[in-house]
Each structure stands twice: as structure tokens, then as C-alpha cells.
């Protein structure tokens, strides 16, 4: 029997119970408990003075690079970065080396994650080696721990294969996550196609490359009845399609990443490879549309697309640089800015970063209910700090937010009652 923990005088924000009140949260033996049921005299007490107590944050879109590219990130380092960012769980994409397209890789990831500071939910590949030709073994991967399927970064080109994938995934009750990109249209592009790409002489990726594929995925989800999730939405056009599909009752959910509601194509000026990602940063109009969609429910979740790369991939000519940025340690702060700016309220933030990801992935967490597992994040919405990439827990430094003055952060992260990060 472990000692009890009392999180005292916190503002408990838990949309799963429609709670938003100053109260205490009691934790014992890794579970959230009723204080009347335990001996409260022998407890570790943390007085939170109104700081927020929320269900542990869940990032449903990260790249942990293990196995295969451990010099960029490992499951352990990625999970430490996750804990520091307030996350208690992450879903990791299958584009490792080898690709997570079979149960032995899935099992390896789960075993590596067993002692790490966050829950790791592997997402398996849609096709073998993610090369878009043959279905991977969904049943085997699910039995080994996979929670969803995607060929993230290497979108399935063949519509017939995607149809089969959706049908077969439905048989195993697995979610299909789509990196929606029509690659014949985006080919060779390295940033959003617009004024900035013209000024910089860089080949552009039009918004249509995303919306065309979003439409295909929605049409196939309608055809097959599969459960579809659109990853990292970046454009107003795609949001319109998703909103329309939801209104028609199609089972589709969608996420965006903090950089899409924080930055625009202007961040690329100066050939900043830390502003290069896929989909690319878009226009101010797209950014505003994403903020609106986070509020109105067109978007369900905020996920980081945490994509560690070393300077070998980033300190090079812009068109040759790798896509992606790290995001686990800045996601909450950037999202809290939406609360301060009145775009969303605190409960909606918790919904976007914890409750909805848990529900979409069908995993534990996303709630502070008594009797539930004690995955808990304490947030200080007022804390001001400067984010320095070199002090990151991630093994990679590729972020456009290095040196940014941020407000609000996780000050305690708890995984099944074990404190994985503390900065009270």
C-alpha cells in the first residue's frame, strides 16, 4: 500500500464529469479515490492554490523514432518530454525503422514503453512497410497493443486499398487515421503555395492537396462505415469538408497541431527549416479557421505531430530539410494561449487535449472519476517562462518556438499516481 496523495485546493476541470470547481483530489495506489475511504492522516499534501487539476493530457500523434532512429528520439526520451509537457499518454506513429506493420514491432514498442514516464499507444501501419500495396496484419497488431492504423507521412495513394483498409479495420474495430495529402499534387513542394513561396522561390503545396484527400477519405468512410480520423488538419477547405461530413453523420473526427493555430507561412521567411512541416504552415485565414473549428467542434483534438529530427536533417538547404518539429513541451502552453485569447474556455481545452483523444483512441484516461486510474496533470495557467530548446527533454531541438516567452505550463504530471514531472 502506497502513501496517499492529496492535491489540495486545485481547480478541478473535468469535462467528463462536467466539473469545474475548487476541490481536493485524492490519489492512492495509482487510483483516484474518495478521501472518506482511506486513512487521510498519512498523505503527501500538495497545496495547489487554485492551479488546475485536469485529466492527464493525451497526445494522439507523436513520432518516437524507436526502433531505428534512436539518435533523434527514444521511447524513453520522448516520454520524458511528454511528461514535461503535461502528457500522460501518447500515440506513436508507425514510421519507425522497421515500420510498425507487424505485431513484433508493436510488442517491442510496448515493452520499451513499460517503464517510461508516459503510456505509449502504438499506431500500426495500414499497409506493409507503409508502401501502399498490401494490408498489414491488423488483428495481430491490435492483439499486441495497437490502437489505430495509419500510413502517416506516406498516404495511401490507391483508393481501392484504402477502401479495403477501412473495411478490414472495421472488422477489428480499429480507427483509421489519415495523413491527408494528394501526393501527386504536393510533389516537390516544401511549403504552402502562396505569396511567401513565390517570394522565396520555393515550390508550393496548395491547400487543395489536403482537401482533395480529405474528401476521398470521407467518401470512403461513408462508403465503408469505417471510423475515420483526419490527422493534423491545416486548411480552411479541409475543415469545411469535415464539418459537412459530421453534419451528415459520418463517423469522422479530426485533430490539428499547435503550430497550425499559432504560426503561418510567414514563419518560413529566412528559409527557416524549423518552420518546415507537412502539411505546411498555411495562411492567416487558415489559422483563423482552425481556431474557430477548435471552438465549434469541427476539430476534436489537439495533437502535436511531435517529429524529432537532428541538425543533420534540419541544418541544410530548405528544400532538402526534413519535415516536422518537436512539440510535446510547447503544446500545452501554446494551447493555453487560446484560452487567454478567449477562443476556447478551459473545459474545452481539456476536452481537446485529454477527453477527446482518449475517446477517439478508445483508451483509458480523459477523466478524473473516482475509481479511475490516476493520470493527472496539474496546470499553472499563469506561470511565465522562456522555452529553450536546448533544455528540452527530447533528444532533438527542431522547434520554431525556441526562445519564445510562453505563459502557462504543466507543473506536475502524474502517471497512475506516480509523479513523472514536477515543477510546482
Amino acid at each position: 500500500m502506497s502513501k496517499a496523495i492529496q492535491l489540495k485546493n486545485g481547480r478541478i476541470i473535468d469535462p467528463s464529469q462536467k466539473r469545474d470547481e475548487i476541490a481536493d483530489l485524492w490519489i492512492k495506489d495509482g487510483m483516484i479515490v474518495d478521501h472518506q475511504s482511506i486513512d487521510v492522516k498519512d498523505a503527501d499534501i500538495y497545496n495547489l492554490d487554485g492551479r488546475w487539476i485536469v485529466p492527464g493530457l493525451i497526445d494522439m500523434h507523436v513520432h518516437l523514432r524507436e526502433p531505428g532512429e534512436e539518435y533523434k528520439e527514444t521511447i524513453e526520451s520522448g516520454c520524458r518530454a511528454a511528461a514535461a509537457g503535461g502528457f500522460t499518454a501518447v500515440a506513436c506513429m508507425p514510421n519507425t525503422k522497421p515500420v510498425n506493420d507487424n505485431s513484433s514491432v508493436t510488442r517491442f514498442i510496448c515493452e520499451q514503453a513499460a517503464l517510461s514516464s508516459a503510456r505509449v499507444y502504438p499506431v500500426g501501419a495500414i499497409s506493409q512497410e507503409s508502401n501502399g500495396e498490401k494490408l498489414a496484419e491488423y488483428g495481430e497488431m491490435k492483439a499486441a497493443g495497437a490502437v489505430a492504423l495509419t500510413d502517416d507521412g506516406r498516404p495511401v495513394i490507391d483508393s481501392r486499398l484504402m477502401r479495403r483498409a477501412m473495411e478490414y479495420a472495421s472488422s477489428h474495430e480499429l480507427l483509421i487515421m489519415s495523413h491527408a495529402e494528394e501526393v501527386s499534387l504536393s510533389k516537390g513542394g516544401c511549403m504552402h503555395e502562396g505569396e511567401v513561396s513565390t517570394r522565396l522561390g520555393l515550390r508550393g503545396i496548395p491547400a487543395a492537396a489536403e482537401s482533395i484527400m480529405v474528401f476521398r477519405e470521407i467518401a470512403l468512410a461513408e462508403l465503408t462505415g469505417a471510423r475515420l480520423h483526419i490527422s493534423h488538419v491545416s486548411t480552411e477547405q479541409a475543415l469545411a469538408l469535415i464539418g459537412n461530413a459530421k453534419a451528415r453523420g459520418i463517423r469522422v473526427t479530426a485533430e490539428t497541431a499547435p503550430h497550425y493555430f499559432t504560426l503561418t507561412e510567414l514563419a518560413v521567411l529566412g528559409y527557416n527549416t524549423h518552420a518546415k512541416m507537412n502539411p505546411p504552415l498555411r495562411t492567416e485565414q487558415d489559422r483563423q479557421a482552425i481556431r474557430t473549428a477548435l471552438r465549434d467542434g469541427t476539430l476534436d483534438a489537439i495533437a502535436t505531430d511531435h517529429a524529432p529530427h537532428s541538425i543533420l536533417q534540419k541544418d541544410v538547404e530548405f528544400n532538402m530539410a526534413a519535415n516536422g518539429i518537436v512539440g510535446l513541451e510547447t503544446s500545452l502552453s501554446l494551447s493555453l494561449a487560446l484560452v487567454r485569447e478567449g477562443v476556447i474556455d478551459p473545459a474545452r481545452l481539456v476536452q481537446l487535449m485529454s477527453c477527446a483523444p482518449a475517446a477517439i483512441l478508445g483508451v483509458a484516461g480523459g477523466s478524473l472519476r473516482i475509481g479511475g486510474v490516476a493520470d493527472v496533470t496539474v496546470v499553472d495557467p499563469e506561470r511565465q517562462f522562456t522555452f529553450f530548446a536546448e533544455k528540452s527533454y527530447s533528444k532533438s531541438r527542431n522547434t520554431p518556438f525556441d526562445g519564445w516567452k510562453l505563459q502557462g505550463k504543466a507543473v506536475m504530471t502524474m502517471l497512475a499516481g506516480r509523479i513523472t514531472y514536477q515543477d510546482l
Binding site: E195, L312, F318
Partner: protein, 324 residues
């Protein structure tokens, strides 16, 4: 003699990445400086000691004969030591080439590196790793500033000014670094740039840079003071950008008939090398309105001026720069 645009004007740029970074005063000053250097090239002994002891490296990651030769002649006429490095981007490990090459060259203490590279933004990347000045000799589809400057100089030679002129640029705007430098430069100097070409050659939002887009080439050329045709790269046919050179030439090639729509004293320009019979009809390329060879001559003078200025040449020195 160099005439300073303003008494207190100082050329402040260590690197030349593009016309984008240059003010009206900078452009005027570079062209004025180039004028004073142009005379050197017509002397019997075409050499001044201005940059004696300076080391200038031509680092070319793309094949180039004309631009490299122009920079090399410019440097040699000013007594600098020049070295040419031709590297291939395709054979090297992606990304490592440029920085590793830069560090190696830097260890030999050059004063200026002139860079031609297929990646837009490569000069800025290079400049982060070296002490020397960097002059962009063409980066991807971004800029080719010395070409833009020599084009402006050539137009001023004929028209006396740029303000209010109508400049028609015809051809593959989207894949042309010359077009971008010209559009930015001419627009900044008060000229009105009209671009024409099939829509596959017109980049997104080019009008936001101040250019007027004409779908009919005749609208661009009508009453123009300057008509510039851009080189059509033959491989564009295979990218489904144009169906054939024949069709391109028929609808967008600059012919004598088309030129009749322009002002009587129109000049015809081309950054070279010309595909005769594609973007320019031979009678136009060699006709009396063509100033294409003057562009080449001015190119040497502009490059002399750029080398001189990035090396701090305007500080207490006249343009002839007997020694520094």
C-alpha cells in the same frame, strides 16, 4: 567617379542574397558604381589593382558558363585572385555537401564566395557558416540579383530612368530566378511590370509582388518600354507545363509583329542563353531593338561593383580604387 546618391549614404550589405534586401538607394548606388567601372573594360589594359590580394571563390553547384565567366572576369579586372569550384549536388550526400564544403573553403580564408545553387535560400545557409561575403549567383527559383541589377542598368542606359516605365516580362515566370529579381527590382524603382505567359508559368500571388498578370501577351507588350523574354527550358514540355515548344512559340514567342504593339523605342532583352525561335524570333533577337549583348557587357560592370561594395569599397575611396 562614383557619385554617392546621398552625402551620408553607406552601402551596408556584407552579403548579396537578392534584390529583395536592397533599397532604392542601394540599387542606385550599385548601378552608379557599375557605370564607373564599365570604362575599365574598354581600356587597352583592362585591369585595376582595386581588389589586389583578395580571394574570390566561384562556388557553382549548377552548370553555368556565362554567369561564372562574368564574375570571374569582373574579379580579375580588379586584380583579385579567383578560384572556381564546380560541385555536383546530386552525387553528394543530401544536405551535408554545402555546409561541409563551406567550412573547408572558409578554412582557406576567402574574402567572397559567389554561390550558384539549385536550392532556394542556399546563400543564406552558406552565410551562416562562413566569415566571407556571399554573393548569390542564382539560387533555385529564388533570385539572381546580379542579373536583375544588370537588367536595370541596361534599361537606365537607354531610357535614362526606370520610374513609370512599362516593362513586359514574358515566359516562365514561375521557374525563373531572373524574373523574381527583375519584378522586385523594377517595381521597387517605380516601373510597372507586366508579366505574361501560360498560367502554368505564372506563380501564385505574383501580383502581390506588384506585377500585373496578363493572360494575353499582347496586353503586356502594348505600349511597353521594355520587352523581356525569358528562356524556356526545354524540359518544361515533359512537366506538363506546356504541351509543346511549337505551341508556346506561336502564342507567347516574341515576334516582330508583337513588338509593333510596343512603344516605338522599345528595347528587347533576354537573360540568355536564347532558344532562337522559341521565346524570341531570330529577327527580334538580332534586330535593332535588341540590347542583349549590352546586358552581357553590363553584367561584368555590375559584378565588379558588387565585389567592390561587399568588400567595403565605398568607404573613403573613389570608384577607380587605386589601392585599398
Amino acid at each position: 567617379m562614383v557619385e554617392l546618391t546621398q552625402q551620408d549614404y553607406q552601402f551596408q550589405h556584407k552579403h548579396i542574397f537578392g534584390i529583395e534586401q536592397l533599397s532604392v538607394a542601394d540599387i542606385s548606388h550599385i548601378i552608379t558604381t557599375a557605370r564607373s567601372f564599365r570604362e575599365i573594360s574598354s581600356r587597352p589594359i583592362k585591369k585595376v589593382p582595386t581588389l589586389r590580394g583578395k580571394t574570390i571563390v566561384n562556388l557553382f553547384f549548377e552548370p553555368s558558363t556565362r554567369t561564372r565567366l562574368s564574375f570571374e572576369i569582373a574579379a580579375k579586372r580588379m586584380s583579385a585572385d579567383t578560384f572556381n569550384i564546380s560541385a555536383s549536388t546530386s552525387s553528394a550526400t543530401k544536405g551535408e555537401t554545402l555546409i561541409d564544403t563551406a567550412r573547408n573553403i572558409q578554412a582557406m580564408n576567402p574574402d567572397v564566395i559567389i554561390l550558384r545553387h539549385s536550392s532556394s535560400g542556399a546563400p543564406q545557409l552558406l552565410a551562416r557558416y562562413i566569415e566571407a561575403s556571399v554573393i548569390n549567383a542564382g539560387d533555385g527559383a529564388h533570385e539572381h540579383p546580379s542579373q536583375g541589377l544588370l537588367d536595370m542598368m541596361t534599361v537606365i542606359d537607354h531610357k535614362g530612368h526606370l520610374d513609370g516605365l512599362k516593362i513586359a516580362i514574358i515566359g516562365d515566370i514561375a521557374h525563373s530566378r531572373v524574373a523574381l529579381s527583375d519584378i522586385i527590382g523594377f517595381t521597387r524603382m517605380g516601373a510597372h511590370v507586366h508579366v505574361a505567359g501560360p498560367q502554368t508559368f505564372i506563380p501564385a500571388h505574383i501580383s502581390l509582388l506588384g506585377a500585373t498578370v496578363c493572360s494575353d501577351v499582347r496586353d503586356a507588350v502594348r505600349d511597353a518600354d521594355v520587352v523581356m523574354a525569358l528562356r524556356i527550358q526545354l524540359e518544361r514540355q515533359n512537366d506538363s507545363l506546356i504541351p509543346s515548344l511549337r505551341e508556346y512559340s506561336r502564342f507567347f514567342g516574341v515576334s516582330r509583329n508583337l513588338l509593333d504593339l510596343a512603344k516605338e523605342d522599345v528595347i528587347v532583352m533576354h537573360p540568355g542563353p536564347i532558344n532562337r525561335g522559341v521565346e524570341l524570333n531570330p529577327d527580334v533577337a538580332d534586330g535593332g531593338r535588341s540590347v542583349i549583348l549590352e546586358q552581357v557587357t553590363n553584367g561584368v560592370a555590375i559584378r565588379m561593383a558588387l565585389l567592390y561594395l561587399v568588400l567595403g569599397g565605398n568607404k573613403g575611396n573613389d570608384g577607380q580604387g587605386e589601392s585599398r
